[in-house]
Symmetry: C2
Subunit: 258 residues, 2 copies
Amino acid sequence: MKKPAARFNLRKLPSRAPHELHKQETKRETARIRQDLVELQDRLYAENRQSVLIILQGMDASGKDGLIRTVFSGLNPQGVRVHSFKEPTTEELAHDFLWRVHMHAPRHGMIQVFNRSHYEDVLITRVLKLITTEEARRRFAAINAFEKLLQQAGTTVLKFYLHVSEDEQRERLQERISDPAKQWKYEAGDQDKARQWPLYRKMYEDVFRHCSPDSCPWHLVPADQNWYKAYVVAKTLRDALKELNPQYPASKLARPRE
Amino acid sequence: MKKPAARFNLRKLPSRAPHELHKQETKRETARIRQDLVELQDRLYAENRQSVLIILQGMDASGKDGLIRTVFSGLNPQGVRVHSFKEPTTEELAHDFLWRVHMHAPRHGMIQVFNRSHYEDVLITRVLKLITTEEARRRFAAINAFEKLLQQAGTTVLKFYLHVSEDEQRERLQERISDPAKQWKYEAGDQDKARQWPLYRKMYEDVFRHCSPDSCPWHLVPADQNWYKAYVVAKTLRDALKELNPQYPASKLARPRE
């Protein structure tokens, strides 16, 4: 995992785990972390004063859905919500681009996962030339102000970019054609999009340049191996929750009636 | 009507119409303006590409409700919405302060009126010492970014402060006790609040200092006389709509089927 520098090249970012890391050992470690998460999430929910927003971005077939299943399946769904952002509706397009996003911001006590997010409004919109560079700049500023607003209200914002190599991505998209359990994910445009990877990469680099302040950095996750990205995301979340250190509130029985 | 200067004193702001203005003539002019508004609003709704947000602030008994009735009653309610912000609910308090506000931002084609607004979160909250000056400063920045976001999405934001003199306000609050048609508005805290006017005034001045950029200024409206404030708000809205110049779209009959 790496924090992006002011100028940097996504092509040079590793897409695989460091060599010294042992797969089976890491998987066992992830299992331990998930145990920690169960307890920490329970305390966050009970405390009801802070929240966590996890933003997942990555190109097609970078493994966002699988990651959500792996990392969050053991948690109490009462305290965890996942929202997948699809193509905006007519009603959503009749508002500013953060309108539909803001309403899904987590309330105190909750962990909210965004499967794709407001970053699509400065990614695919630029690839398809729906907005100008100038408009993208304005949106970057709006996004930074928005995430700051959430942070000031007690929300920890964790942003993950799942980085897969082109080879790995090509292979996974091929599986969507051949594997019956994955065919439902295949979309007619997948092949066209593949041709636009270089442009997507450029737009992602621009996002990392403009929307990665020290107070709210992007985490760039090598994502060719599922076991490694699950480990990185689970660990980052666990460490953030430990830092928040949520506490069970005092029993209401002990309090005088209001 | 006056745009606030960087430093200025609310006590020195007139609360009455300029002497040269004739009441009956002005009322007739307001009636004409309301005719304009009917047509302009119809075009705004049909065009479905721009919107207007009217923010009404003022101390108790400054006449916000009456103003809404006078100015907006003739308009087609399909294209006009009024939202009154009350004391936040537990659910609302579990989010950032703009969360409940953002969801009421107008969609294209609409005129949205906020009867009180997110500005209460830097007014009454400060008078009651629920937030620090530092937090207020952060909220000012968040408000400016939020209003800019709306403007960039095609929303014209018009902010009005209804300025009544202390004498006029005292008289109106007294009416709430004696007039059967106004008694329902009386609240137990009204007298306490009156004692806090100097503090409210100070907090309003701070708002005007920090949240009145050239691109989105506050309009300070002398509000002791109902006929004058109705005129000022109606005229400001009419002029803004004229500037937007909304157009009826071409007939769908002429378009090829999609």
